[in-house]
């Protein structure tokens, strides 16, 4: 199963995809706030979103799975 992980520690400020969406490689899936910056997190792979594991306001760590792809 393909997954998208956070690439740095931060707080989720927006979620750009939902289950059922088809996403392309390099597409932004979530935006974190970290170091006072808006940090878009990209998917390294194309696929269909099965689950979004992070909600707005959640703190995520580097490596935490935020989106699961089919």
């Amino acid at each position: 199963m393909k997954q998208v992980a956070a690439n740095m520690a931060g707080t989720v400020i927006s979620v750009l995809v939902q289950p059922g969406d088809t996403i392309s490689e390099g597409q932004d899936v979530i935006v974190l706030e970290s170091m006072k910056m808006e940090v878009p997190v990209q998917s390294m792979e194309a696929g269909k979103v099965v689950e979004v594991k992070a909600n707005i306001g959640d703190f995520v760590n580097d490596g935490d799975i935020i989106v699961v792809l089919e």
């Binding site: 740095m8 520690a9 706030e33 170091m35 006072k36 910056m37 940090v39 878009p40 580097d62």
Partner: protein, 512 residues
């Protein structure tokens, strides 16, 4: 008599040039690999080639050239020395004459003061020959000693086509750049089999030491090539930026305007300090069309490093990438920058810093990984660089991030800013929180509290106003975005006459 001797010789030469047995050539094809002599044809400009040591180990009968070709040819019109493993001969492994040939081509490159290219595809040492090739004065250790000695004197380039195992893995490690062929190239000290036997780890070769892993995770690889042709072309392109040796000037090419699709800088850089943008767009709007050659593209992507041309002249670019991890500096990005700065400085390639940096990363993970010493390494390399260096504050430069990006205190030839740039110990939100934390907590009414915060942020903004900084000579110029390329071209033209000796000591104690 001479005719018959010549015929015998020609036969022997032709035989040796065929390399190993046909079955090993078949194996190359299966692996999508080229024969060593075909690689050399792609690398060199033309037929011009001088080879020594062709008859190495000829008496053994089955070890043509002892598994390595050492030759001199031309790349972009420049004479270069090459050592190239032949994996059809005992898997490219090293015997005593293999090692001696490699040492000799290094010595030749040193005397001629020309670039040295290592085409690596080798299983490592022939353990059966270890006494002759491993421990002695002219054993394999001398190859690495020579590499260290040559570092910074002549460009050393490694193209990795296959394995580079155990001690052999240090050949790429001591080169200026390592180009790896995806799926085929690998570097490792202990093979997967050894890892399982010695430490009980079960892992595939690709995961353990594959090209993609090294180019994106370990940082041991600089360029990931899809195939051998692309890898060899990358080496040729890379060398087009470099002089033959440190005492010569980098080669010039005809000037070109930026690509036609380059965007206007004012539309690239958002005014909102916290919003992401793609720094590659800014680089493309500044440099000559199609001249940007990125190094470590897949590694520590929050910082971009690459060679390019400005008005036909080579320049080394170090740029924060706000689109990745907010452009914050991490352990790996600091390491990547330090290495790249040292490379450019060694060979007289001017430096361009494009700063948009919120600072160095904070938190447990990076402190434990030693972000302070890695940051120090970057700052040390940048401070010591004496080539022309220009720092452009594109949008913001906070904290030690400002220092690391060659700001005023580190003797750039100029520290210039685009309008809208913010230079400060930290951004307004963090600063107000740091200074007035207790006061903010003490205000009970939320509206009143917010008003207080807004007022203090506004005061802070006024304190770090760019015109105030220019007025105090902290930045040397505020440049209109539309004139940035022209300004940089003019400045490098002026600074090219720069002669600076940083210090007369032996060398610093590197903070690594």
């Amino acid at each position: 008599m001479t005719k018959h001797l010549e015929e015998t010789l020609q036969e022997k030469i032709a035989h040796i040039k065929q390399g190993g047995d046909a079955k090993y050539h078949e194996k190359l094809k299966e692996q999508n690999k080229l024969f060593v002599r075909d690689r050399l044809k792609l690398l060199f400009d033309d037929e011009f080639m001088v080879e020594d040591g062709l008859f190495a180990n000829v008496m053994a009968g089955d070890l043509p050239a002892d598994g390595v070709v050492t030759a001199i040819g031309k790349v972009n019109g420049q004479t270069v020395c090459v050592m190239a493993n032949d994996s059809t001969v005992k898997a490219g492994s090293w015997g005593s004459r293999t090692v001696e040939k490699i040492i000799r081509i290094q010595e030749t490159a040193e005397k001629m003061r020309v670039p040295l290219i290592y085409l690596v595809d080798s299983a490592g040492a022939r353990i059966t020959d270890q006494l002759e090739m491993f421990p002695g004065r002219r054993g394999a250790g001398r190859i690495f000693y020579n590499q260290v000695k040559l570092s910074g004197k002549i460009p050393q380039v490694c193209i990795l086509f296959g394995p580079s195992a155990a001690g052999g893995a240090y050949i790429p490690a001591f080169c200026d750049i390592v180009i790896m062929v995806d799926k085929n190239a690998s570097m490792y000290l202990g093979s997967p089999r050894m890892a399982e036997m010695v430490i009980g780890e079960k892992v595939s070769l690709e995961e353990l030491g594959g090209a993609r892993m090294h180019c994106s995770v370990s940082g041991c690889g600089d360029v990931l090539a899809a195939n051998e042709e692309e890898a060899i072309q990358s080496a040729r392109t890379y060398l087009s930026f470099f002089p033959a040796n440190y005492s010569e000037q980098p080669p010039l090419q005809a000037a070109k305007a930026p690509i036609e699709t380059a965007k206007d800088i004012t539309t690239i850089v958002p005014e909102n300090q916290n919003a992401a943008f793609n720094m590659h767009d800014l680089i493309q709007s500044l440099v000559d069309a199609d001249s940007f050659f990125e190094i470590k593209k897949l590694f520590a992507q929050e910082l971009i490093t690459g060679l390019a041309r400005l008005d036909g002249k080579p320049v080394g670019i170090i740029a924060n990438q706000p689109r990745v991890k907010g452009g914050v500096l991490f352990v790996d990005s600091a390491d990547k920058a330090a290495r790249f700065i040292t490379l450019c400085d060694a060979f007289g390639i001017p430096l361009l810093f494009l700063a948009d940096v919120p600072g160095f990363m904070i938190g447990t993970a990076v402190e434990r990984a030693g972000i302070i010493r890695h940051g120090a390494k970057m700052i040390s390399a940048m401070a010591e660089a004496t080539v022309p260096k220009i720092s452009v504050i594109v949008r913001k430069a906070y904290g030690a991030g400002l220092y690391a990006m060659a700001s005023s205190a580190f003797e750039p030839d100029a520290c210039i800013a685009l309008p809208g740039a913010q230079i400060a110990v930290m951004g307004p939100e963090a600063a107000v929180n740091a200074v007035y934390s207790n006061k903010i907590q003490a205000i009970e009414d939320p509206a009143e509290r917010q008003a207080f915060i807004q007022e203090k942020r506004k005061e802070y903004q006024e304190d770090i106003d760019l015109y105030l900084l220019a007025s105090n000579l902290i930045v040397d110029a505020i440049v209109p975005p539309s004139g940035l390329r022209h300004d940089l071209i003019s400045r490098y033209e002026i600074y090219k006459g720069k002669r600076q000796v940083f210090s007369d000591r032996k060398h610093p104690v590197y903070p690594v």
